[in-house]
Amino acid sequence: MTALLEIRDLKAEIAGKQILNGYDLTVKAGEVHAIMGPNGSGKSTLSYVLSGRPGYKITEGQALLAGADLSQMSVDERAAAGLFLAFQYPLEVPGVATMTFLRAALNAQRKKRGEEEMSSPDLIKRVKELAKILDMDMEMLRRPVNVGFSGGEKKRAETLQMMLLEPKLCILDETDSGLDIDALKVVSNGVNQLRSKDRGIVVITHYQRLLDYITPDVVHVQSAGRIVRTGGKELALELEETGYARYQSEAA
């Protein structure tokens, strides 16, 4: 069976500076992986390289989504192919109504996949259901995308987008940053609802705390732009005890 995400010896740079140094990672459908690591180890870089952010350049190796080479796809094509990046710092989009944005995103993806577009009433109904799960006020969704939202509200909105778009592979970049414990529980609950045998989830985090709520199948330690250790969920607890110091010296 083809892996959902297959990264092989990936090297990538930003402005001529190499950040990923031979990255290997395989995520199969149904699995939840956690990538942990110190600040500056290239965790966010990995998420941007996979999603295709301008300026992030693959120099060697490959990243395949369900067997398709991501480097050959534009950013929106990757999204339509089922890749979703939940941003560490979701952006505010002044002047673009949230529902307009959600409709444009969902229907662009569906169109690209040759599926039928979702009607406005169906969309509104679905968004209402999701808002309830995420404990969000529909009033917020009448505002422009993320404008004036608190950090926690932005993460809920990001989770709502993810649940609506039903991607194959979810990458959560430091979703726990800026969340209080209540919001953390709500967001984790949303993510857990997305766990399924057809979907892969990659949780990128600095702290173990999030993994109390989203239990990973596999935990990786990333340092200096590659994975240096892989283990089960107990590895996260171990890291909480020992910190990242030994991995940083190892990598250096």
Binding site: S51, P54, V75, D76, L85, F101, L165
Partner: protein, 441 residues
Amino acid sequence: MGNAPITPARKLTDAEARLAEIFAMQQSADAPQLAKLRTAAFDAFAKTGLPNRRDEAWKYTDLRALLRDVKPLAAPPEDSAKQSARSAAVLEGVSARRIVFVGGYFAPALSDLADMEEGLSVAPLSEALAKGDAATTAQLGQVGKVDDPAFALNTAFMGEGVVIRVGVGVCVDRPIQLVFVAGAQPATYFLRSLVIVERGARATLIESFEGETAQEYHVNAATEVVLEEGASLERLKISREGAAAMHVSTFVASLAADAQLSDFGFNLGGAVLRNQSFININGQGAHAGLRGANILKGREHADATLFLDHAAERSESKALFKSVLDDSSQAVFQGKILVRPGAQKTDARMMARTLLLSEGAQANCKPELEIFADDVQCAHGSTVGALDENLIFYLMARGIPQAEAQSLLTEAFVGEVIDIVANRSLREALTGLVSERLRTR
């Protein structure tokens, strides 16, 4: 009338010489008062001639260089032109009283002057002038002191337009839409309207300029608005002129105490477009909102020049102008705020924002403040930039294709000015025009 005196030693341009010739030949059945008004205006024009880049107010739109020749004054349009004008400037979902002019002439068959609301009168300018209507003649050119050659030319040659009066305390809900459709032949149109909104009255005025033709034609339009005490007017001007058209328009308004003016100029096409506004805030507590939006492409050039004269206490003005520039298009924003001695507690704000969609596009912004009172708030600013790459990435990361992401963000940029339009159906129609224009980029 005789030959107008041209005093300066400078050799006249072909266009200036032609204008003098046409003026001299103008067969006039005008009432003496009107003939006097025209002659005085032409004399004032002749003193300076066509404005050029050395005139500060015309620095970025050199009319002397741009106006190489003068197209003939418009002849009455053919029936075919009238037919094609039937569907012009229809704002979807907006139920307006339409007054249509084709090729510079009033088209009664296309216009709706029936069932006039009580207290409202709308009449073609040509009728008022032909009748020698003294009240109208006395007010033309008198709404504000405007020393500008393009406006003077308009007064000298004014042909058609409307005279609107909204009586004391009358609220006219249905927007009045003036539709000016260019004829098929090269021509010059001098259009002039006068709008009097009496004490406590309220109205909405739309002025739409359209041209389907690729022929070069010239529009010189002027609208004078008197807002009496507590009167209120929402005005919307849409210019969707032909690709080779030159459009110069002057807006003069006077605001008495507690009057409210909301003006929005929307430029969606034309080779050269100039909207100049002279806003005279004469009464305490009056409020003027002045907004503009340009969506330009090709080599289009749009110039918004604003003079805000605060002459009374506690008055407010808010100006917001937005431009979206593609290809090699150019936008000019000049705004001058004058706060006269004694106009204390004036609150005046002016902002121009430009979005450049291409490296060849250009924006010129020139704000000026001249303040002679010591207890006022005045601010101005301008920004010029491209679409935010990070936002484009965010939208694309959700599956929205690049072109659609750019359109959404561009519509959002323009949306800020449109959101201020109070009339909902108008707001929606304008949003539709923006999307349509951006789709044809």
